[in-house]
Structure formats: C-alpha cells, structure tokens
Assembly symmetry: C2
Homo-oligomer: 134 residues x 2
C-alpha cells in the first residue's frame, strides 16, 4: 500500500524538483546537525528504512546520508511544522554529520566583533581526507 | 559601513528572491521552533537590531517576527553551516513561535502506526484568535 503523505507540502522547488526542508537534530542533545531537502521518494525511503535519505540538489539524486562515509542517521522521530513544508528529523548520528569533519554542519558563527566574519567555534571529530580520500 | 556578508551564500530562490534558510532554536532548551527564509536585508536587519527578521515568500516582504503578535525573537547567536546557505538562530522567544498557538511550529509528528498520519503532540500556549483576531 503506498504511503499517504498527502498532508506533506512539497512546496520548495529547486530545478523543478518538489521538496520539503529537512532539519536533522540529535535526538538526545538536541544539537542541530544539518539541513537538506527531501523529495517525496526520499521521505518514503526514510520512513521505510529508518535511515535519513535526502535529495541532493547538486547531484539531482536521492542520497542516503552516510552512504560513502558510513555516517548514517538513524531516524527516531519526524516532526512536521505548521505549514507541513519542513520536517524535523530527530536522529541518532553515527560518526559526524558534516563532510568537513565536524559533528554538526553549524560549526561557525557570525562574529559581530568587528566585522561579521565567520568564526569556527567547534573542533573536528574526524579528518575528511581519511574518510572520503584526497 | 555596509556589512561584509560575502561569505553567506543566498543560494535558495523563491520567485527570484535570493535567500538563506533560517532555523530558530531556543537558545536555552535547544528546542527547534520554526524555519523561514532570510534575504540579505532581513539578515542585516537581524544583525543590526538583534531581533529576528525573515523574508515572507507569500507576502514578498521582510517581516519582523512578532510584529503583529508581539512574539519577538531576541537573537543571541547566529551559526552558519558548511555551505553557508543555512543559518541557525539561537533565540530567546517571547510568547510562542507558531501562529497556530504552539511554542514551536513543529507540534506534530509523523505517526507510523498505522498510516503515517500527522498527530498533534504538543499543547497550545495561546489562543490565536485572541492574538490575531478572528
């Protein structure tokens, strides 16, 4: 039986693909780890497998998070916002979420003093070259 | 002096407007409250005033969060992701973030048993009619 996802509003469009915004959040610490888009198939695969799948707007294909790094995201719960066009994925992160080696992709902050430059405020948890190659 | 926001990548587009995704998170409890877009002017206003401003894709204008409800968001910190196209706003929320009366817009979950319907899992903290009128 196909899933009834008619309540979900895939209103965001990139190159004609209909998408929802997906936010991955550590289900225990509540740290926000990354943001990516999901199309309907990515959401179905996520629900069926319990592993986060996203839509890659650059590669134009579905992407199992961690397929090359092994850094899979086990989905514990999915929350939906009032417009039903954004999802909050409460996940258990294997390894780290960011391909640059940080646990969270939000490893920089806007530093107002003096010039609103971006400042790295986290430490790497893995070395990208060792996971993805040179 | 104009702010140097050249590192920020306003790559998301809705009706030609260049945008970044903004996630508002309670700076203390880490609860994710809402998602909206910011254009460059909304980000500048947010940085200048310390109050979250977004770009309304439906009204096609900048919107001070809380301008009609009084439910302002005081911005404590702004994190930037690896692609610099999404911002995490660590905020102190006055009242509630959701216009439907919930503290967070993510007040529903996808309920896998039995049919992936959306289920309300939070309680309202205000009655929308009292704030916005009928």
């Amino acid at each position: 039986m196909p899933m009834d996802l008619s309540e979900i509003n895939f209103r965001h469009q990139v190159d004609g693909e209909k998408l929802v915004i997906g936010i991955a959040q550590d289900y225990q610490t509540r740290e926000v780890l990354m943001v990516a888009y999901l199309n309907r198939d990515a959401l179905e695969l996520t629900l069926k497998t319990g592993k986060a799948h996203y839509w890659s707007t650059s590669r134009k294909k579905i992407w199992l998070k961690g397929e090359s790094s092994g850094h899979l995201q086990e989905v514990k719960e999915i929350r939906v916002d009032c417009d039903a066009d954004s999802l909050l994925l409460k996940i258990k992160q294997k390894g780290a979420a960011c391909h640059e080696g940080y646990y969270s992709c939000f490893f920089r902050e806007v530093d107002s003093d003096p010039d609103f430059a971006l400042k790295i405020i986290k430490k790497k948890v893995f070395e990208p070259k060792k996971i993805y190659g040179e």
